[in-house]
């Protein structure tokens, strides 16, 4: 029985490790500047995790294999432990685990401990149940005034833009996100109703959009293309359909886009969404 269990534990361990090492299912190819460091940190961590997991399971299987209740020994070894061993393995795990924890802060710090760099492109996201709205400041680079009292979904004023504000005249609001490639982007994240979450797997970035808060985050996307944007925080009945696209455009193309008027902007956005293709699934 013990040997069977040992072998099964080893097979399950091997299978689990194989699932990770074959990389048949893995992260999609990253497109953001911070992703390389993040992916490296993941790899280091998963290697440490994999070694610890394998060692523990092999060790467990080994004890079962070796220390069956057989006639070779009259009794088990009588011991209550070893202070030395306790100290050794406590120190080793503490160093490894806390070391990982400290290393695991660097990408986080680069994204969250600083303001967006000067010259970052600003865009506002206003989420609502099952729809994304993105508010672009237009040519002047200044967002028009918004007010919850002016929100009216029936007239398509999803973000409550004040048409009377001169700064609002060149603003555009669309359901898809377009950002420039290779330039830092600062997003101002808001929600109209419940908590949503901005999640683009290729971006390796996720942030809640919390009603009552305007959360500023920044990142840089490098690779032009079209990517799926999902809501990753349960927001109600059609949460699984709260999908949109993030377009990462070459800077020139993006500059042309944001200089357009609201109507032209919508048309151009449609063309761009048709022009760019999603990355092939599994890459």
């Amino acid at each position: 029985m013990g040997r069977v269990l040992a072998v099964i534990i080893w097979i399950l361990t091997l299978g689990s490790v194989a699932l990770f090492t074959t990389r048949k299912w893995w992260f999609p190819t990253a497109i953001s500047e911070h992703a390389a460091a993040l992916d490296r940190q993941f790899l280091i961590t998963i290697i440490v995790v994999g070694i610890a997991f394998t060692a523990a399971q092999i060790g467990l299987g080994y004890t079962l294999w070796r220390y069956r209740d057989d006639a070779s020994r009259p009794r088990a070894t009588y011991t209550h432990g070893s202070s030395r061993l306790e100290v050794i393995w406590t120190i080793i795990t503490a160093v490894v685990f806390i070391g990982l924890a400290v290393m695991g802060q660097s990408v986080w710090a680069s994204l969250h401990f600083n303001q967006a760099p000067a010259g970052a492109y600003q865009v506002e996201a206003v989420a609502q149940q099952f729809q994304w709205n993105f508010h672009y400041a237009g040519k002047d680079g200044v967002f028009g005034r918004t007010d919850p009292k002016l929100i009216d979904d029936s007239t398509l004023n999803f973000v409550g833009l004040d048409e009377a504000d001169p700064n609002a005249r060149d603003d555009a609001v669309t359901t898809a996100l377009a950002i420039p490639a290779g330039r830092p982007v600062e997003m101002i994240l808001r929600s109209k109703d419940v908590i949503h979450n901005f999640w683009v797997p290729q971006l390796r970035f996720k942030q809640d959009l919390v009603p009552g808060m305007a959360i500023r985050v920044h990142f840089t996307a490098n690779t032009p293309g079209k990517y799926e944007l999902a809501c990753a925080e349960l927001c109600g009945q059609l949460h699984f359909k709260m999908r949109s696209y993030m377009l990462v455009l070459p800077e020139a193309e993006h500059r042309v886009l944001i200089a357009l008027t609201q109507e032209q902007f919508q048309t151009r956005m449609g063309e761009l969404l048709a022009k760019y293709q999603l990355p092939v699934s599994g890459e």
């Binding site: 029985m1 013990g2 099964i8 699932l19 990770f20 299912w25 893995w26 993040l38 940190q41 961590t45 995790v49 523990a56 004890t63 079962l64 220390y67 209740d69 088990a76 009588y78 011991t79 209550h80 432990g81 306790e86 503490a94 685990f97 806390i98 924890a101 695991g104 802060q105 986080w108 710090a109 149940q129 919850p148 009292k149 929100i151 029936s154 109209k192 109703d193 419940v194 979450n197 797997p201 390796r204 942030q207 919390v210 009603p211 009552g212 959360i215 799926e228 999902a230 809501c231 990753a232 349960l234 109600g236 009945q237 059609l238 949460h239 699984f240 359909k241 999908r243 990355p279 699934s281």
Partner: protein, 611 residues
């Protein structure tokens, strides 16, 4: 059994009436069994829900006519709709976390065996004990009623996940299906559960501190008692916070207060305060709910797993025929986990909009909690090392616990890092992690405990071959279910999606989704073996002696099943530590705690031989 000559014998007889004996019983053993029965019922409900969820994810759009009969609103034409799926998610989580993982390990086995293992006649407050069960039972009934509360909404229950994040959970019907009366009942059920758990926790702590028998010093207690005690302390400190949070959430819902609802919300086409359907709210904080919830929610994870750790240590030592390796280290590790467990709740909230600096602090504390967890694993391996292992069914499940605890716990090293949480948060990677460690490992601890203590509780063994088949299928099954979920999470699959058909990037995962569903169906069906075994063994199982496993602790010194007052009026005296196996020079390979004399070592949990 050693009896002091001067001790007077005064037996307590059980009450005669059926109701006082079995229903409103003050006997901790009956109450323990009631808790276990409650968990056995709740887990069937929770499992049935996970089965439905897997069916919906793997075969979306398929018509299951029986569902239309049961839930006309949730499955019109027999096809599950998204709101039905989401209420299944919510109810599955709530049912499992509260009414299975918190009841059986602590209220069930803890209630039954803590007083016996410390040599007490009953709990300190038997009436409080009875109250705690019946209050919990009322909470269960209220939660069940939330499932079936369809009413005007076309859903079968609340939608919010077991975490019930505000403001979705606070806004009421304006926020869509699943936010009406079902959600009120969900909040009320949890509040009731909190009260029941508090009563239980007070009782456990008092009993353990005040009612240990002569010679039962703290460091001679079985590790199970340390685990139940620490769990009770965690419950005492964390449940009041959830109770408070629940009451505030209910006030937001029914009294239109604004604890968790900020100003200026625009929901379903209505601005807050402009229509009667959506009254004015102003000044609340959605993140406050998350702090209150997770201040409870993280210790809750340890409330679920610590008793399983205790049972595993206990059972590993018994069947390895060897003292627990590093008893003191094990006690300190339990304490360390309990203490650190209160300072890591923010790791659920890295991306919530909380300060990124607090996130860093929580992250480092979170990875620190891996240290005592690793220490426990090393000591379990140390206990097995050099043993003479008997592979009984309870031992198999305890060994399964160790394997699964490692498999599930170790990915905490990934999720606990702020940077890596960016891609991992709210994906299937998280789902895999906590199901393995908090769900499946804890359940394995409870299976081990059931197979181990069943002979003491009912005087009959559970069927061994059936138990072993149950183990093999379940052990392999849970690996097949939960390991692939890690890779799904890496690809980016989000939790709580009713369907995965909407996204291109998820299409590649279809084979894994199917594999997991099939593994889940087989594993769930295998649990029928366990239920069959329980019922069969109750009447037909092989009869058990007082100490059938040749174990050392006090529950094995008394009759099988134990009399109403546990020791028939003669409280035992304890002379040594709890796990004196393989003592050199002793006649048997086990020395019971009640065996007097100093010809063998003290075994007070000290390391090495000390006299």
């Amino acid at each position: 059994m050693a009896v002091e000559a001067h001790e007077s014998v005064h037996r307590h007889e059980p009450p005669k009436g059926f109701i006082r004996k079995y229903i409103f019983s003050l006997d901790h053993k009956v109450i323990g069994i009631q808790y276990i029965l409650l968990a056995l019922i709740a887990v069937v409900v929770g499992m049935a829900m996970s089965l439905l969820m897997r069916l919906n994810l793997s075969w979306p759009g398929t018509s299951w006519p029986v569902l239309e009969t049961l839930f006309p609103g949730g499955a019109p034409g027999g096809v599950m709709n998204p709101e039905f799926y989401l209420s299944l998610v919510t109810m599955h989580g709530t049912m499992m976390v509260f009414f299975v993982l918190t009841t059986a390990p602590q209220g069930g086995f803890g209630n039954y065996f803590l007083p016996i293992q410390i040599g007490a006649e009953d709990m300190a407050f038997p009436f409080l004990n009875m109250m705690s069960f019946w209050v919990t039972f009322v909470g269960f009934v209220v939660l069940l009623s939330a499932i079936f509360f369809s009413g005007a909404e076309s859903t079968i229950g609340p939608i919010g996940g077991w975490t019930g994040y505000a403001p979705l959970s606070a806004l009421g019907q304006i926020a869509g299906p699943g936010q009406g009366m079902g959600m009120n009942l969900w909040v009320i059920s949890i509040a009731i559960f909190c009260v029941g758990s508090l009563l239980g926790a007070l009782n456990f702590i008092t009993t353990l501190l005040n009612m240990r028998t002569r010679g039962m010093s703290l460091m001679r207690m079985p590790l199970t008692c340390w685990a139940w005690f620490t769990t009770a302390v965690l419950a005492l400190l964390s449940f009041p916070v959830l109770l408070g949070g629940g009451i505030l959430l209910l006030l937001d819902r029914v009294a239109h207060t604004s604890f968790f609802i900020p100003a200026g919300l625009y929901v379903s086409g209505v601005l807050s305060g402009t229509q009667e359907s959506f009254p004015l709210h102003t000044g609340g904080s959605p993140i406050l709910w998350q702090h209150l919830f997770w201040f409870f929610g993280h210790p809750e994870v340890y409330i679920a797993i610590l008793p399983g750790m205790g049972a595993t240590s206990h059972i590993l030592s018994t069947f390895a025929r060897k003292p627990v390796f590093g008893y003191r280290a094990m006690v300190f590790a339990i304490f360390a986990i309990g203490l650190l467990g209160f300072f890591v709740w923010g790791h659920h909230m890295f991306i919530s909009g909380m300060s990124p600096y607090s996130a860093m602090t929580f992250s480092i504390l979170t990875l620190s909690i891996g240290v005592p967890s690793a220490v426990k694993t090393f000591n379990w391996l140390g206990t097995l090392w050099g043993g003479k292992i008997r592979f009984t069914t309870p031992m198999l499940f305890a060994l399964g616990f160790v394997s699964l605890f490692v498999a599930g716990g170790i990915t905490g090293l990934v999720l606990g890092q702020t940077s890596l949480d960016l891609p991992m948060h709210d994906t299937y990677f998280v789902l895999a992690h906590f199901h393995l460690v908090m769900g499946v490992a804890s359940i394995f601890g409870m299976f081990a405990a059931t197979y181990f203590w069943f002979p003491k509780m009912f005087g009959r063994f559970m069927n061994e071959p059936l138990g072993k088949i149950h183990f093999w299928i379940t052990f392999v099954g849970v690996y097949c279910i939960f390991v692939p979920m890690h890779t799904m999470g890496m690809v980016g699959m989000p939790r709580r999606f009713a369907q995965f058909t909407e996204y291109e990037f998820l299409k590649t995962l279809h084979p894994l989704v199917m594999f997991v569903s099939i593994a889940a169906i087989i594993t769930i069906l295998a649990q029928l073996l366990f239920y069959a075994n329980l019922v069969w063994s109750l009447f037909r199982g092989r009869r058990a002696e007082d100490n059938p496993w040749e174990a050392t602790t006090l529950e094995w010194t008394t009759a099988t099943p134990p009399p109403h007052d546990n020791f028939a009026g003669l409280l035992p005296t304890v002379y040594r530590g709890p796990y004196e196996f393989a003592v050199p020079g002793a006649p048997n390979d086990y020395v019971m705690q009640t065996e007097p004399g100093s010809e063998v070592t003290s075994g007070d949990g000290h390391e090495g031989h000390r006299h």
